[in-house]
Amino acid sequence: MNKIDTNAPIDDRTTAASDWKRGFDAQVSDTKTIRNRSGIEIDPLYWPAEGSDPAYDEKLGFPGSGPMTRGIYPSMHRGRTWTQRQLIGLGRPEDFNARIRKILKSGASALSMIPCNSVYRGLDCDEVEPELMGTCGTIINTVEDMDICLKDIPIDEVSVGLNDPNPFTMLAQMLVVAEQRNIGWDKITGTSNQSDYISHFVANHMFYRLSLTGARRVQMDTITYLAEHVPNWNALSVVGQHMQQAGATPAQAMGLTLSSAFQYAEDCIERGMDPEKFLERFTFFFDISISFFEEVAKFRAGRRIWARLLQERFGVTNPRALRFKFHAQTSGVDLTRQQPLNNVARVAVQAMAGILGGLQSMHTDGYDEVFTTPTEGPAKIAIATQNILKHEAGLCDVIDPLGGSYYVETLTDQMETEILRVIAQIDEQGGMFKAVQSGFVQGLIGESAMAFQEAVDTGEQVVVGVNAYQDDDDDTARPSVERPDPDWMQGQIDHLAKYKSERDQDGVTAALNTLRAVARSEDGNTYGALVDATRAKATQSEIIAVLRDELGFGQPLVVA
């Protein structure tokens, strides 16, 4: 019955291999044989003959156990492919809703929500310059806005990614919407994508809303609150993407991200949480640059380091906690405005690196992201790119197909050494929190950013269409940018005014006062009070204003 045993290329007498096969069979019910175009049967995994590579078990092992280098699940993409998680956010809540329903129909298996930049700044639509409203994301100020965004979307079935930086007001809105629909919070699954305040302080000031110390308090309150009330929500996604986009090398981005994750783990332990449990819900979010083999090696090395250091540093043994689950996004920095259709090719290569690196979830960029938030056509091509790689190119047939390559294994070891060097540097600084407070990390990233720019300027790093192969006649595929209709802007403001006038104002004031008191008290859970205020119909701006008052709104540290 077990097709894997038939014609297995390699001896399977070792315990590790048999364990892997048991795990694989348990995860894969569809035992259809896969053959390539020449009729050759393709096994799900290839590994060296018994005894031919003594270091194999220690350094690579089998997917889903041991060093985890080759993947965190026994079946990886042969069992279940990655989640297609496209970032979507445009215009009004009803526009978002219409768009997301189309995207779900075209094959996306999860949804992501990007709010308007005004929301990132903690401002409602009646407080911002009208020109800027709804140009980059959806205007979501209230529970009602969230309800419209999610109209007819089964939020108990679809995994949701929220670009919802600390203090997580969008998640609070979604939880209240779930209550209104009689959906238990235990049915809500997904991830707070922009929950890594350290990375925001360092490298993406877009999402930076509360002071560093204030954000730390709210973060820990949120993680403890969600662990108790929303058990299937990933409260923390540790983000390497911002740092790599800001100029960190792939090795630095991985090392710094792991250092941040260790910091969060230490903070959770200080709150009395059990690492065997809370680490099961840690996820990561990385950038995938076009440096193909470097990216594959980065992910393989990161997976191995995470599993090993969790055991060494925190004594973790739960295999679920050791899994390095990550979402990745193709790098926008690599895309060019010149000859923009070339970006389709770049995104495909980046996506391949992420897939062969063993990701769990992916966003592929639209080729027009150098011009604008992706428009509909390019967003469709971005999803099609994933489907082509999955179904036509056969990238999911074999687990860790580059494993065993002399180059890739050597590079994985070398990236590991480099990543560990970065982690040691941060340890010397007293951990990631202190290292960003002092500006040490910002300095590292700044130097790397300058070095890369220098390489492009001198032509040492060839960028097609930019410093080589230029084409002056090129005017291909420049997207036509559509800005929101100024008329609906007024509609949105009127809508908010109506919402405010119809709510129980005393209830709002009382809930905001409670939130203030909790924030001031230093004990008590700010996130519980924040959810209560959201339920009482306070807007996100009103809530964030209270927290900024009490916990501070620092300015990001600028290191030249």
């Binding site: 310059e129 000031h205 800001a246 405005r337 011009f371 720019q453 420049r478 036509s480 030249a560």
Partner: protein, 142 residues
């Protein structure tokens, strides 16, 4: 008049509006500084009034606005505010992600130059120095 060439150009590098992607503005600030200019750098999210005040107090020749997420749509308002403050001689450049049709709008509003991703360091430095000389030549006498 020739002596203006020996006075270093004074450039304000800033971001207005809501976006906080500041890798570009920091790199540009460092480039211009390394090229010998006097650079005043600010955090993102500046208000237009703040930029005007800063430009006046620091007596700058050029203002560089970095825009990665539609904040360039506010630049025409900045141009009006600069003129109203009698700072019409200051040259304004925009760098970042600006769609073609909106580049035309910016140039019509009085922006001197829009730099897109991929613009080279040398090109930017030369252009900023040229614009600074133009601005200095037009600066009204106190």
């Amino acid at each position: 008049m020739n002596q203006t060439a020996t006075i270093p150009a004074r450039v304000l590098v800033t971001k207005i509006g809501l976006d906080g992607h500041d890798r570009g503005s920091r790199i540009i600030a460092a480039f211009l500084r390394d090229a010998g200019m006097e650079v005043i750098y600010t955090n993102p999210w500046q208000k237009i009034e703040t930029v005007v005040t800063l430009a006046m107090e620091e007596d700058v020749d050029v203002i560089g606005i970095s825009s990665l997420a539609t904040d360039h749509l506010l630049v025409p308002k900045l141009m009006v505010a600069l003129k109203a403050a009698n700072l019409g001689h200051i040259r304004v450049i925009v760098g970042g992600i600006v769609p073609d049709e909106e580049e035309t709008d910016l140039l019509e509003a009085g922006v001197s130059k829009v730099f897109h991703p991929g613009s080279g360091r040398e090109e930017i430095v030369v252009e900023v120095e040229r614009l600074a000389r133009e601005a200095a030549a037009e600066r009204p006498e106190d």
